[in-house]
């Protein structure tokens, strides 16, 4: 069985992200494996352990993206591939999905492609669905449990109303919810392997495609308007008195 995990590198979630002149900056905060993608890696490794599959982690990005790939290798993925091409500057979600689907096809004989729910930078949450659509594979999003029963996958999906249980033929695209379980830490053995890994880089020419035309532009990014809050600290002689005052204040706000 062959598994692919598609990941992205993003600024750390603790970063102070600021817009400056229409560009996003995050100071010296580190770039990390997208936290949602850690769950995708975890799901892939759980499935790998159950099936003895081969897990390849892939990402689209610049040279620095190898760091994120190495984190996934250290967690236990078998190999990594970076897709990097200057022509992908300004690519939109649809273009990235097209590139990922071409890469998955080039890897060949892939049974499952895993994705995180979304990336914490763009918060688009569409890449799994779009990649699946390009591939023509079933899309199973927000999976919380994944089992392989014979030649079909049995997935529980987190939806607004609870859980939906779905069976799917292979190959399939799966996006993973946090309910899959805490992602494992990299192991020391994995770290040793990752630090020595030579990660191949594929260009668009290697994939045999041209740069897809972006259909969505991002002309500007701004800081949200500062929240003008004047904080009123409620004090009193007893918790009861504080509670009564606070309840009055909130009632006056007419939000209930």
């Amino acid at each position: 069985m062959n598994i692919v995990v598609c990941v992205k590198q993003v600024p750390d979630s603790a970063a102070k992200v600021v817009a400056e002149g229409g560009r996003v900056t995050w100071g010296d905060a580190p770039l990390v494996l997208n936290p949602w993608d850690e769950f995708a890696v975890e799901a892939a490794l759980i499935l790998q352990e159950a099936t003895d599959a081969n897990v390849t982690v892939i990402s689209v990005g610049g040279e620095s993206t190898k760091e994120a790939l190495k984190t996934a290798l250290a967690m236990g993925c078998g190999q990594a591939i970076l897709i990097s091409d200057p022509a992908l500057e300004g690519a939109d979600s649809r273009a990235i999905a097209q590139v990922l689907s071409a890469a998955i096809q080039k890897i060949g004989d892939v049974d499952v492609a895993f994705f995180g729910k979304q990336a914490i930078d763009g918060d688009m949450g569409v890449t799994a669905a779009q990649t699946g659509r390009f591939l023509g594979w079933p899309v199973l999003s927000l999976a919380s449990t994944i089992k392989l029963e014979g030649d079909k996958l049995v997935i529980e999906r987190s939806i607004e109303e609870g859980r939906q249980i779905v069976e799917s033929k292979l190959p399939a695209v799966i996006s993973v919810s946090k309910d899959i379980g805490e992602p494992r830490y990299p192991s020391f053995m994995g770290i040793r392997k990752a630090s020595r890994a030579n990660i191949p880089v594929w260009s668009l020419a290697d994939l045999g495609i041209h740069a897809p035309t972006p259909l969505v532009r991002w002309p500007d990014v701004v800081n949200p308007p500062a929240r003008e809050v004047k904080t009123e600290i409620i004090t009193g002689d007893s918790p009861q008195q504080i509670a009564e005052q606070l309840a009055d204040k909130i009632m006056e706000e007419k939000v209930l």
């Binding site: 250290a74 830490y185 020391f188 053995m189 770290i191 040793r192 990752a194 630090s195």
Partner: protein, 403 residues
């Protein structure tokens, strides 16, 4: 000269950080209050490979280098000193001592399960009447045929009640001209008949850790449990301290970092006289000193780690790193409490725990005074390190990582 960490070292550091921050930071306050070590700590550290981080794979370790051990200690103590103590004792004072001095069979029997985290190790040197004055050790080991019979009591032993193996230093030759030469080292399995042990409470700091005593009464161990030769006990103990002190230095560096981070966070948040207190110069000075201490302490321990990697004797450099970092961590913690004002004095914040924990390391594994004497002795030419029969092997990734 290369000041960059390798990718391997950085990733190992990050992994230990995640463990400490995610799994221990959340419960440490409560454990400290209850004066109890959380029950999962040792098993979890074993499972993650941290207990064998810098030992060769063929002895059940993870094949990382000595610098990775230091980085792990820094990360652990940035959350709580008691986490780092586990590595000081299990790896620094015991497992590395075995790695340096034990024969192949002993490495297989004792070191391998320790590196895998299946057996927990401690170090029995200090006695109720023998601390800095190691020659005053009264524990005895008498040979009877193929066995030694051990008697005596050790105090202030970290992990005394948690450990399976103790590297025990006892007197085998009461007649030796130099009392140092009358000492020998043994591995005592602590489930043997005649072993009693208990915890000590009421400590100023290190309350989420385990510190205790071990008493042996006519405990019989096979001759095969003796590490090195008879009379090499003092040298072995000093080798162990070279490694233990290294972990203490690296850990204290982590404690300085924790003080610095907590102080910076608080100085940016806390307002006084209409602005964040970080804007005041006397606060800035305290923070500047913490930055200075952190960088200096870090460079000192990394140098010692580098020397270990190269197989260069580092007793002087390790002693210097330990002396400097522990004193600086005590200072940093004290100033961190000061910056936090009255809040710093309460256990709502972590800094009071940092202060209580930092004091211990100025005392154990060589008091600051001992290290000052050592440094002066080196400078004045009174002290030289003679080559040892068994040196700590230089780090070789090929050897460390082959099965």
């Amino acid at each position: 000269m290369d000041f960059t960490l390798t990718e391997e070292q950085r990733m190992a550091q990050q992994m230990v950080r995640e463990f400490a921050q995610k799994e221990v930071a959340t419960i440490i306050k409560q454990q400290d209050r209850e004066q109890q070590m959380a029950s999962f700590i040792l098993s979890r550290m074993g499972e993650l490979g941290i207990l064998g981080i810098c030992l060769p794979v063929r002895y059940g370790g993870q094949g990382m280098d000595y610098i990775a051990l230091g980085l792990a200690c820094e990360e652990l103590e940035a959350v709580d000193s008691t986490l780092r103590v586990v590595l000081s004792v299990h790896i620094g004072l015991n497992s590395l001592g075995l790695f340096q001095w034990a024969n192949e069979e002993q490495k297989r029997r004792f070191l391998t399960p320790q590196a895998r985290g299946e057996k927990i190790a401690c170090f029995g040197l200090t006695e109720p009447g023998a601390g800095s004055d190691v020659a005053a050790i009264r524990s005895s080991a008498r040979r009877h045929g193929d066995e030694y019979v051990l008697n005596g009591e050790k105090m202030w032993i970290s992990l005394a009640t948690k450990a399976d193996h103790c590297l025990w230093v006892a007197r085998t030759d009461p007649e030796a001209a130099d009392p140092h030469d009358g000492l020998s080292a043994f591995i005592v399995e602590l489930d043997r008949p005649g072993v009693r042990r208990g915890d000590l409470h009421g400590k100023l700091g290190m309350r989420a850790g385990s510190t205790g005593w071990i008493a042996l009464q006519d405990v019989r161990i096979p001759v095969e449990n003796r590490i090195g030769m008879e009379g090499e006990g003092f040298k072995i103990a000093m080798s162990c301290l070279d490694n233990g002190r290294y972990t203490v230095a690296a850990g204290a560096t982590g404690l300085i970092r924790a003080c610095l981070e907590a102080s910076v966070r608080y100085a940016n948040e806390r307002q006084a006289f209409g602005r964040p207190i970080g804007r005041f110069q006397l606060i800035q000075q305290k923070i500047a000193y913490m930055v200075q201490s952190y960088d200096a302490a870090r460079l000192l321990y990394l140098r010692a780690g580098w020397m270990k990697n190269q197989g260069i004797r580092n007793t002087r450099e390790t002693s210097l790193a330990k002396w400097f970092a522990t004193e600086a961590s005590f200072q940093a913690a004290s100033e961190a409490v000061q910056i936090h004002g009255a809040y710093g004095y309460s256990d709502e914040y972590d800094v009071e725990r940092y202060l209580r924990n930092s004091k211990g390391a100025v005392i154990y594994e060589g008091t600051s005074e001992i290290h000052q004497l050592m440094q002066a002795a080196y400078a004045l030419g009174y002290r030289q390190d003679a080559p040892l029969r068994c040196e700590l092997p230089a780090y070789d990734p090929q050897v460390w990582q082959s099965e």
